[in-house]
């Protein structure tokens, strides 16, 4: 394992030191591991807090700023943040209008955010939650942990963040966040596993021509192992899975996301095929993101996330945003 780190034990803290040094628009509480908007809390504005394991950068810290999150709580690598941390972030961004937790659907994230919500409530902060569960590779069922939350987190944070920035009340922010999640689907493909600093070796081994289909964002293997093939066919597999679950049509917000180790060139090649697929289905890639947004450390691969737009969602997507990883209109 060769990584640009100082020490396996200080990876998250050292990352936060870098984030603090790189982005004066953020206030980073390194000790408690919270990335705040510098101007938080904003009186009267609904606060948005998200968080999850580290190793998915720029998620979530890269989405803290004007028009998106008010704070992010990074846990250890692939480990949900702890309740204290979430409570501190929640009270720290509470401007009196309540706080929205954007939570990706993993047992750990759900339990820790739940505990934090109860504790925040004890401190008099109204907390609501949007649970993100967009990954169609996981069959949902009453008897399982349900679908994973992946790329749609970016969409929910951007769109709910825009509505909060516009001064909407918590109930409205929750409503739009859930709507985004309901209209979003994702599917991921890995060409390699990732290596956590603590484990020091890949979480699984793939042969020279093997890939994993339907992976999550924590280095867990996918639903099936398959033979590597050309980008066009990989995209077809991913898009068919999405389209089977929620037929693609109309104006679509599309993200082609790199898993951390994939060069941008390859993501553009994937995007070309995604756009062609949408066209075939009579849908259009009306809004687009291509790049590393929800990563898995150094994993090679990509995911596609789609969201069926409405006029309201498009308007909120287009609203100004100013964060380390998304920036437009300001």
């Amino acid at each position: 394992m060769k990584k640009l780190i100082n020490d396996v034990g200080s990876v998250v803290t050292d990352t936060l030191r870098g984030v603090a040094a790189a982005h004066p628009s953020l206030r980073v509480d390194i000790e408690n591991k919270i990335i705040f908007r510098r101007d938080a809390p904003r009186p009267g504005k609904v606060g948005l807090v998200s968080g999850g394991g580290s190793g998915h950068e720029p998620l979530h810290g890269g989405y803290v700023g004007y028009g998106m999150l008010d704070a992010a709580c990074p846990g250890e690598i692939f480990t949900s943040p702890v309740p204290d941390q979430i409570v501190r972030a929640t009270t720290g961004v509470n401007g009196g209008a309540g706080v929205l937790h954007v939570v990706k659907n993993y047992t750990g994230d759900v339990l820790n955010f739940e505990m934090a919500a109860e504790l925040s409530d004890d401190e008099g902060v109204e907390v609501a939650r949007v649970l993100v569960d967009d990954d169609v590779a996981v069959r949902d069922s009453l008897y399982t942990a349900g679908r994973r939350g992946t790329g749609a987190a970016v969409f929910v944070e951007k769109i709910a963040g825009a509505l909060a920035e516009a001064g909407a009340p918590l109930t409205e922010v929750v409503r739009v966040g859930r709507e985004v999640n309901d209209r979003s689907r994702s599917f991921g493909v890995a060409l390699s596993a990732c290596t956590t600093p603590a484990a020091g070796r890949p979480t699984f081994e793939l042969g020279e021509r093997e890939i994993e289909l339907g992976i999550g964002i924590h280095g867990e293997p996918g639903r099936t192992r398959a033979a590597h093939r050309e980008a066009r066919e990989l995209v077809r597999i991913a898009m068919d899975a999405i389209d089977d679950d929620l037929p693609l049509s109309g104006e679509t917000l599309v993200m082609v996301n790199g898993m951390g180790g994939t060069p941008l060139m390859e993501l553009y090649i994937v995007f070309a095929e995604v756009a062609a697929y949408l066209k075939e289905k009579g849908a259009t890639a009306a809004r687009r993101l291509v790049g590393n947004h929800v990563t898995s450390l150094d994993m090679l691969g990509f995911s596609v996330t789609t969201c069926a737009l409405t006029d309201e969602l498009t308007r909120l997507w287009d609203a100004p945003v100013e964060t380390p990883a998304l920036r437009w209109g300001r």
Binding site: T79, T107, G108, N112, A145, A198, G219, R223
Partner: protein, 217 residues
């Protein structure tokens, strides 16, 4: 069992988790996200620190402090689950200064209930419940049958180990491993394996009897 017994149990767990860390992480790499060993290692190191800094004066106090510390330090699924387990066990023991095997057995059941309430897992879902439930049953059964604490702990430890091993063929229905569907079969559940370490540590404390904490680094 007095407060000291429970402190030593925690120390024993801390040592066992440290020794088993990489093994647990490897189990988690196979069907999860390769952090279970580091998660628990971080958590129990913090428990040891907390106990040293603020030594509780009841068995229940030890367990509640251990549980709260796990919740505050571990994160992930196992943090709230184990944290709740220890807290609920501690709460079940109340203010008692000395605890009988029967009391500990019903505390273990309270801990199990906490895990089930929070995580919603049934036995057979391939989680820590698959080790914790048989351990609690075995302990209660042995105590009921008049066994002494040492026998009760040995039975619980053996049942936890067996329960953990029995997760191998299962298909996971809770936690990260459930995302793998049928591919989760063939691997031991990391949380069940760590439960076996935790219950095994109870047996170790009782068997050794002689407190070894002073000589540990």
């Amino acid at each position: 069992m007095d407060t000291r017994f429970f402190v030593i149990w925690m120390e024993e767990i801390t040592a066992a988790v440290r020794a088993g860390r990489d093994h647990l992480t490897r189990l988690d790499a196979a069907i999860g996200d390769a952090d279970h060993g580091t998660n628990l290692d971080r958590g129990f190191a913090a428990v040891a620190e907390a106990l040293a800094a603020r030594p509780p004066d009841t068995p229940g106090g030890v367990l509640v402090l251990a549980g709260s510390t796990l919740i505050r330090k571990v994160g992930g699924a196992s943090g709230p689950l184990y944290g709740t387990a220890f807290r609920d066990m501690g709460k079940a023991l109340g203010d008692a200064a000395d605890v009988s095997a029967a009391e500990l057995a019903s505390a273990l059941e309270a801990g199990l209930a906490g895990v089930r309430r929070l995580g919603g897992a049934e036995e057979g879902d391939k989680t820590m419940v698959d080790a914790l439930a048989p351990a609690a049953r075995a302990m209660a059964r042995t105590v009921d049958a008049g066994g002494d604490p040492e026998e009760a702990f040995a039975a619980a430890a053996a049942a936890a180990e067996e329960g953990a091993k029995a997760t191998v063929p299962l298909v996971a229905r809770k936690g990260r491993a459930s995302y793998l569907g049928a591919r989760s079969a063939g691997h031991e559940d990391p949380g069940a394996a760590s439960t076996a370490l935790i219950v095994g540590a109870l047996r170790a404390v009782a068997t050794r009897r002689s407190p070894r904490s002073e000589s540990r680094p």
